[in-house]
């Protein structure tokens, strides 16, 4: 997928795969790819919750629609509320059996990572990016200028918001369709920002894929295992890679989402480049 708007030219590819043993319809991650606006989101519906795939889609779309204007907890509560209303409306569209109601009250949960790219002010100059994340969906930045090695000064070089594979577990914080359960989330919204150069690669991944990248690629800079996927004709190579790593026991059996974005060039004289404000860090 290629896109160009506000001077940002990107080449992006999205790969998805349900957990082995699940059907395509049971896949509960979600992604938004908007090359036109430079917004990219991966959300991962928590499998222990109900209607989690729907919630992941709504959360991803909410990020794509824009971030809150302010960074306080109330602004984030208000920002998420339309997605919560949409989830409630959808799940109650038909009568529910008694055993589903307690689970509906518990709500659906999703981790997420949202990347915003902004173009450089001058051709060949530095562009800016910002990221907001909840839980263990992660962003990686790989510098094209360093022959595929992680951008050493990037806060996402080894993974963001997690950079230690040991920190992955089965109990991440996650955004919930039930407002009650988000109160502990708002103080822990992770956010950071940085710069990019033409040729840089950004990767957004749900937890199992992110863990594998952090464990198998980051320490040895083995990005050549993923880079060919950017130009692959279809997802055959991705599926083969996943199957091999599942067999090797190196990749956890879970829904998988891998979103790769290469910034091809940054030519925009109309829009001055500014650091990206992610409006996170609620308290």
């Amino acid at each position: 997928m290629d896109g160009a708007a506000t001077g940002l030219v990107t080449h992006s590819r999205l790969f998805t795969l349900p957990k082995a043993g699940k059907t395509e319809a049971e896949y509960e991650d979600a992604a938004v790819v908007d090359d036109a606006t430079g917004i990219y989101v991966v959300a991962d519906g928590a499998s222990d919750s109900v209607f989690a795939g729907l919630w992941a889609q709504l959360v991803a779309q909410r990020f794509a629609d824009g971030l809150p204007a302010a960074s306080d907890a109330q602004s984030w509560r208000d920002w998420l509320q339309p997605a919560q209303t949409a989830w409630q409306t959808t799940v109650h569209a038909d009568p529910l059996p008694w055993y589903v109601e307690p689970k509906i009250r518990q709500g659906a949960f999703a981790t997420c990572v949202a990347l915003i790219l902004r173009p450089a002010a001058t051709p060949g100059g530095l562009g800016h990016w910002g990221v907001v994340a909840v839980g263990d969906s992660c962003l990686f930045q790989i510098s094209g200028a360093h022959n595929g090695t992680p951008a050493s000064r990037s806060p996402a070089a080894g993974g963001f918001p997690i950079s230690n594979p040991a920190e992955f577990g089965t109990n991440p914080l996650a955004l919930c369709s039930n407002p009650e359960y988000n109160e502990v989330v708002w103080p822990h919204l992770a956010h950071t920002s940085g710069t990019w150069q033409p040729g840089d690669l950004f990767i957004l991944a749900s937890d199992a894929m992110a863990h594998w990248i952090m464990q198998e690629l980051v320490p040895v800079g083995a990005w050549d295992r993923l880079l060919p996927l950017l130009d692959a004709a279809d997802d055959t190579a991705f599926r083969a890679l996943v199957a091999a790593e599942w067999d090797n026991g190196l990749l956890r059996n879970d829904d998988l989402t891998l979103l790769m974005i290469r910034v091809v060039s940054a030519e925009d004289t109309a829009v001055p480049s500014q650091p990206v404000t992610t409006a996170a860090g609620a308290s």
Binding site: P97, P102, Y181
Partner: protein
């Protein structure tokens, strides 16, 4: 590492509940401000475990995933199946039932009130359906050894059919006064049954008339009030490492000597320790 196999529909695990239904369960339950018999306390504990197992497997309307199979055996007026499907034969071993069939076995739905935060600083009272699968029964002696032996037969067959699954869990809910001998040997035999992922977990829930403070997941028997409690503590499996981590996440203070034992409390939180997928830290 043992006890690390993912629980999936392809490799489900099982829960077997052994319920003391002897006459002594008519005695009052020793929890302050709770006016009920131990039999009522046992039925409540079983119904809550079943409710939580079903909750974990529910993904939507007509979408209950068979991560767990569950069975229940009562002991008192004989050793009898308690959760039964219509096709259960009288002489057949109690069956382990897939979770998707559990809603069909509800005897009645009670309405219980629960308070919860509304997300805007207020408190809401909500009414929730509470499914009753098991009702209080109390009669005759306490053939706990026999119940553990029936449990052995059920679990032995399960392990044979599911060698690669997460090991079975057996929860014995009792006042501890076995009338057919010492249950230690039968308990040891049951704990000896294994899948490739580890030994069967036997946990005990001791319901007593003694109003001593409730204990859950203890690493010592020194605060237990009587020999029945100490015996049940000894019969209980040590929590596997994966359960210890999950218990710590839930706020329990546990270590590598902590056993799956409760005194005048239920073990419903055990259900939350099982890994059937991502369970967010802020989920309650």
């Amino acid at each position: 590492m043992p006890y690390s196999t993912q629980i999936t529909r392809q490799d489900p695990t099982c829960f077997l509940l052994l319920i003391d239904q002897s006459e002594s369960m008519l005695d009052p339950f020793g929890v302050a401000h709770v006016q009920k018999t131990k039999a009522e306390g046992a039925a409540d504990a079983v119904n809550r475990v079943l409710e939580n197992l079903l909750l974990r497997c529910t993904k939507g309307p007509n979408d209950i995933r068979d991560y767990f199979y569950v069975g229940a055996v009562g002991y008192g007026p004989g050793v009898v199946p308690v959760l039964t499907t219509p096709d259960q034969e009288p002489d057949e071993l109690p069956r382990l039932i897939p979770m998707s069939q559990l809603p069909d076995l509800v005897i009645k739905l009670e309405v219980r009130r629960k308070q919860q935060l509304d997300g805007a600083g207020g408190i809401l009272t909500v009414e929730e359906p509470f499914p009753i699968y098991v009702e209080p029964v109390a009669a005759n002696g306490t053939p706990m050894c026999q119940a553990l032996q029936v449990g052995y037969e059920i679990i032995e067959a399960w392990c044979k059919d599911h060698p690669n699954s997460f090991p079975p869990t057996v929860i014995n809910i009792t006042d501890g006064e076995a009338s057919d001998g010492s249950p230690l040997i039968s308990a040891q035999a049951l704990r000896g049954l294994a899948t490739n992922d580890g030994n069967t977990l036997l946990f005990n829930c001791h319901l007593s008339s003694n109003p001593a403070p409730a204990i859950i997941f203890s690493d010592t028997d020194q605060y237990l009030v009587d020999d029945y409690a100490r015996q049940l503590f000894m019969m209980s499996s040590i929590l596997p490492e994966s359960f210890q981590q999950a218990a710590a996440t839930q706020g329990y203070r546990v270590n590598n000597r902590t056993r799956g034992f409760a005194f005048n409390a239920d073990l419903v939180d055990l259900v939350k320790f099982l890994d059937v997928g991502t369970r967010p830290a802020n989920m309650r």
